[in-house]
Symmetry: C2
Subunit: 289 residues, 2 copies
């Protein structure tokens, strides 16, 4: 059961074994979920160096999240910690690199924010789910424009406050499906708890509009859409109703770990899917594989 | 700046100094805000024992929150840890007892959930704010019935995922007021990020309806309403528009630390207030003071 895991703490310069606690009881990352994170895939070919997917884009989003929370980010320090940690990770195969930034300790406001990095093997369930997903829609409780002019609602900010995302995953499991898809009160598809939604109509790929929806700007989806545009595949950011989503020529959930997973079934309805397009999207996301 | 602080970990039976980390980097309380907490006031009279406010009610709500998250709670173990910790806390004055329960470590799913307890002096700002608050309304982005039949949205669950509550507090500070008051999309008053709303119309006290609103069932408010009912003051759980709230005979925010704080100003409008009613509410909440 026990797997290798690497833990590093920003500012300590020490790579620690996972058995050692690293966070204080009054750290606002624990007491309030007051912080942000990024997670991306790390790939080690036997004997080769570790390669991190889209590190620059993840660091840029990390800085945007931290900015929305008003927590300073020392990007040079993070780049140093990541380089040291990745160099120390030699386990062949896929892993997840996670970086977390919290506001720091409540009792020590003068102390810098807390930064923690972990690397651990990608879990087998995530890898399995790349083959295809059954999905159930879950109401998110807000309209598709609820986040307009309301920055305190932290729409699009990748915070450590993910309890609702976890609870939606539990609800999906209770319903006997692999994954949840959040829906706005008007019936528009939004995003999965930890993945972006992409759909195909003919030759055109679309994803959920970001403005006002609170949807996280997905790096995997952005990489795919950049490559699609370069291949003359039209792309769009828009809204789609759940009914229309069921009529699409293809639906996928994209994320940094699962990469490109086709949605095979939505609320019990079989969806159209085309392996050639799934392969094409995978090439867009990981051209070197 | 440094204040006394007590830290205890469930299952270790050890009272630790605050300088020592207690949480692993892969604890789901940190990585996902996946857990719940309670906070209540602790009072030590010089030479006397510490007294905890409404411990039974807090433990009952803790168990309800954990149940909503599907995390088991060992109530006997918590009662033991709380008794040992409170007995060890001798600093005279008011303090905050906080208990936190997380789903545990991602890499060690067989290990029991993580339980952490802290005691620290009540901060001076909280005590000051008992004198009265200036408040600004902030949109919460959902209707007043958004949580009906959607348990995965965790309405009324006191989770560790409090980033929006913290962000609302920052927005209030940016607006130059003491506190935020969340409002539904229809314009109904909901709750403050960490306090319940109570209003008075004539001889009648009201608070926000719980069903569907996602509002946390406040223990301080429940204690006040029980005492009010015993004193033949009528009470109600209902919805009130922000406009009507401004016309009330009194408005308060109730919480375990600030206890009963009158709202003196709402969105720049002076509110009616009556010190006798504030005193009466305080007696309801802390009859022995």
């Amino acid at each position: 059961m026990h797997q290798p895991r690497l833990v590093a703490v920003l500012g300590s310069g020490v790579i620690r074994d996972s058995g050692e606690p690293v966070l204080n009881a009054d750290d606002l990352g624990l007491t309030r979920g007051d912080g942000c994170f990024e997670a991306t895939r790390l790939l080690v070919h036997p004997g080769g160096p570790a390669r991190v997917d889209h590190l620059g884009a993840h660091l840029a989003r990390f800085a945007r999240s931290a900015g929305a929370l008003g927590i300073p980010v020392d990007e040079a320090a993070w780049r140093g910690l990541i380089a040291t940690s990745v160099a120390a990770w030699t386990t062949p195969g896929e892993a997840v690199l996670r970086i977390m930034l919290t506001r720091g300790r409540e009792s020590e406001p003068a102390v810098p924010p807390t930064g923690i990095l972990t690397i651990a093997p990608l879990d087998a369930r995530t890898v399995r789910q790349r083959a295809g997903l059954t999905v159930a829609t879950l109401q998110r409780g807000h309209t598709a424009d609820a986040f307009t002019d309301a920055p305190w609602l932290l729409g699009g900010v990748k915070t450590l406050s993910y309890a609702i995302n976890v609870a939606a995953g539990r609800e999906a499991a209770r319903l006997g499906v692999d994954e949840a898809l959040f829906v706005s009160t008007e019936g528009f598809a939004l995003e999965a708890p930890r993945s972006a939604l992409v759909w195909r109509q003919g030759n055109r790929l679309s994803t959920t509009r970001l403005d006002g929806t609170g949807v996280l700007a997905s790096i995997t989806q952005a990489v795919a859409f950049d490559a699609a545009a370069a291949a003359d595949v039209p792309t769009a950011y828009e809204l789609i109703s759940i009914d229309s989503l069921g009529d699409c020529d293809g639906v996928w959930l994209l994320s940094s770990g699962r990469l490109v997973a086709p949605v095979l079934e939505l609320d019990g309805r079989q969806l159209a899917h085309d392996d050639a397009w799934t392969g094409r999207l995978r090439k867009f996301v990981t051209p070197e594989c």
